[in-house]
């Protein structure tokens, strides 16, 4: 496959400052490195406190206080082969040139982003105007209609007010909004949490079809492993601010390596199952005071002595697999 890297996160460590006077920091991300390639759907999976939402904020440059990046860089590689340091450029630069055009971000509960007193089409026109003043209203509406048709959305939604549309429809409208300028990288942060099963499928299909047609990079952030099973080519599993495993979809679900991934996959309830399953004992750690060594060791059935003392190394295996665990470290 002829893919190249479009976005690269290198050794990112980041904290939330809670009280600088008392030295209270919450270590949200600890030494995370990921390469994102073109024409792939890559999922970032993790439960509460895993740091996945924080990570994506850093990825697209929205790391503002109280979130500060301690170490590491994020590089964006554009179509014309320039390399932009996302972690260093100003907010103005980001807003004008990067956001919406190179990277688009769909926040959680994006359906609530629409202005309730404006018709949908007027909001689209506004966004267009903000980014490209040369286009007039008629042209804009044509472009928007094209977009809707391409995405399979009903044109009648354009003339409606947000509250008249169902939650799922609003979510899809917001997705359309973020795809307006054909960004190369789209980050969808929990796009289907607030909707029902049937609408969820519609939204995911929308994203999947768009990605297949445009051959761009879709980053799916979700705590729901079923969404990852449906969408992803590759999955990055996070726990307590660390990347614990990276692998292809099949690898993660059928041959999980890291103990957390193993237990997580084993705890998922599949359709038609009545047999008793076990979840993971305990709770994710408090990131104000994370456990020493490996952050998963208090809940890990395979914990060894070294796990309690030293943080495990990042082990890179063949075919792109990555595990951060002492079980796989070379002696």
């Amino acid at each position: 496959m002829n893919t190249h890297i479009v976005l690269s996160a290198i050794n990112i460590s980041a904290d939330y400052i809670l009280d600088s006077k008392r030295g209270l920091y919450l270590n949200a991300i600890d030494n995370v490195s990921i390469d994102f390639r073109s024409d792939e759907v890559i999922g970032i999976a993790g439960e509460s406190g895993s740091g996945k939402s924080t990570l994506v904020k850093i990825l697209y440059g929205a790391a503002f206080p109280p979130l500060i990046i301690r170490k590491g860089k994020v590089y964006l590689f554009t179509k014309d082969n320039s390399k932009i340091d996302i972690t260093s450029i100003t907010r103005e630069e980001l807003r004008k040139n990067i956001w919406w055009k190179h990277i688009s971000y769909m926040p959680q509960n994006a359906m609530n982003v629409l202005n309730p007193v404006k018709k949908v089409k007027d909001q689209f026109i506004e966004v267009f105007k903000y980014h490209d003043e040369r286009i007039d209203a008629k042209e804009t509406i044509t472009k928007i209609k094209e977009l809707f048709m391409r995405l399979g959305l009903p044109i009648e939604a354009l003339n409606a007010y947000p509250h008249q549309l169902s939650g799922g429809m609003r979510q899809r409208v917001v997705i359309a909004l973020s795809l307006l300028f054909n960004p190369r990288i789209v980050i969808a942060d929990e796009p289907t949490t607030a909707v029902d099963v049937v609408t969820q499928l519609g939204i995911l299909n929308l994203l999947k079809d768009w990605q297949r047609n445009s051959k761009t990079t879709l980053i799916m952030v979700s705590h729901d492993m079923s969404v990852h099973a449906y969408m992803d080519d590759r999955i990055v599993v996070m726990y307590a601010g660390n990347v614990v495993e990276v692998g292809s979809k099949n690898d993660i679900f059928e041959n999980p390596m890291h103990p957390y991934t193993k237990l997580l996959i084993a705890s998922l309830i599949k359709k038609g199952e009545k047999k008793l399953k076990t979840g993971i004992a305990g709770e994710p750690p408090n990131l104000l005071n994370p456990p020493p060594g490996c952050r998963f060791h208090p809940r890990c059935p395979f914990a060894m002595d070294i796990c309690r003392r030293e943080a495990p190394p990042i082990v890179e295996l063949s075919d792109g697999k990555v595990v951060r665990c002492w079980l796989y470290a070379r002696k």
């Binding site: 439960e47 509460s48 009903p154 009648e156 939604a157 409606a160 008249q164 549309l165 169902s166 939650g167 799922g168 429809m169 607030a194 909707v195 029902d196 099963v197 049937v198 609408t199 969820q200 499928l201 519609g202 995911l204 299909n205 705590h223 729901d224 492993m225 079923s226 969404v227 990852h228 099973a229 449906y230 969408m231 979809k249 099949n250 679900f253 059928e254 237990l263 997580l264 996959i265 705890s267 998922l268 309830i269 599949k270 359709k271 038609g272 199952e273 009545k274 008793l276 399953k277 076990t278 979840g279 993971i280 004992a281 709770e283 994710p284």
Partner: protein, 325 residues
């Protein structure tokens, strides 16, 4: 103060909300819902529906938090909304709620253990001497302990822990029926199983029936014995869960079952494309079947006439397809 039947019966309950200018136009959030939940033998009864199906409203009606506009709710044969004053506290002892968001369930300014102690003292009438032991026992049953919980406020716990405390509070009152509204949807996937297993234990060890309201069919199948499927305020299918799962009759149930995403890497090959709703209000106001706009089998009759309730093989389906001519 006892009724004669050992069940909770919802009989033709409807609830309207007004909209439009002055709220004069009405749409039915719940439309003539009838179902029966057995208390003996203890049963886990799942009520499944999307957001907007009316399932939370139904639960709030059973909890006497909302009054129905039509119909009756009978607990052990007694009309829940016509109970004399002292019977209301009896009802509140028999029936206990668990809400979806544990952080909304507890007053953030109150210590969490005070709720359990209240429930133990006032509901289960545990005497002063044994109350600490009792509360500790209940907390251990849900996987916590009095030491861990004593004197702490809700924000000091994680979502999973707090929900387990909410469950402890509910069983501390020694209820006959627990009403759980999406109890695990706000919890991490890896913790859901633990809580759901707890529900199974509660049914088996304590003999308590549970109404489990959810949008997640997979978890419903995992723990429930019976299932009721709601669509836009109407009850479309009702029956034992195995039967409904193996042979879903109503087109909506079929759609739901085929749309569930599973944590199975081969799932994308199994799913078929489908038609989504654009404007919800239209469906709520439909004269005939509310699912007609999206139903692959819809006929003219479906848009005009409300479908009848047909019983097939122990399952009740509300659909014209099964009408006995």
């Amino acid at each position: 103060m006892q009724g004669n039947e050992n069940s909770l019966k919802v009989e033709s309950v409807s609830k309207y909300y007004g909209y439009g200018l002055l709220g004069l136009k009405k749409f039915k959030v719940l439309d003539k819902i009838s179902l029966g939940i057995p208390l003996k033998p203890p049963t886990i009864f799942a009520i499944v529906g999307e957001t907007g199906s009316g399932k939370t409203t139904l639960l709030r009606i059973i909890l006497r938090m909302i009054k129905p506009d039509e119909g009756v709710v009978k607990y052990k044969g007694l009309d829940v909304f016509k109970l004399p004053r002292n019977a209301v506290s009896w009802y509140r002892r028999e029936v206990q709620p668990i809400f979806q968001d544990p952080y909304e369930s507890f007053n953030p300014l109150r210590r969490v253990d005070s709720y359990i102690f209240d429930a133990a003292k006032r509901m289960a009438k545990v005497d002063k001497g044994s109350i600490e032991e009792y509360v500790d026992g209940i907390l251990r049953y849900v996987g916590l302990s009095l030491d861990r919980v004593h004197g702490k406020y809700p924000h000091e716990f994680s979502g999973g822990e707090l929900q387990r405390i909410a469950i402890a509070r509910a069983i501390a009152a020694r209820p006959t029926l627990i009403l759980a509204d999406e109890p695990v949807s706000m919890l991490d996937a890896s913790l859901r199983v633990n809580v759901l297993n707890l529900f199974k234990k509660i049914r088996d060890d304590l003999g308590t029936s549970i109404i489990y309201v959810t949008h997640d069919l997979a978890t419903a199948y995992y723990i429930a014995d019976q299932i009721a499927v709601l669509y836009r305020g109407s009850l479309v299918e009702l029956g034992p869960i195995d039967k409904v799962y193996e042979n879903p009759r109503h087109p909506y149930t079929q759609l739901l079952l085929t749309s569930i995403l599973e944590p199975d890497p081969k799932i994308s090959e199994k799913i078929k494309p489908l038609k989504l709703s654009t404007i919800e209000l239209k469906e709520f106001l439909a004269q005939g079947c509310k699912f007609a706009y999206r139903c692959p089998y819809a006929s003219k009759k479906c848009f005009e006439k409300e479908p009848p309730n047909v019983t097939i093989n122990g399952v009740i389906v509300k659909c014209h397809l099964y009408e006995k001519s």
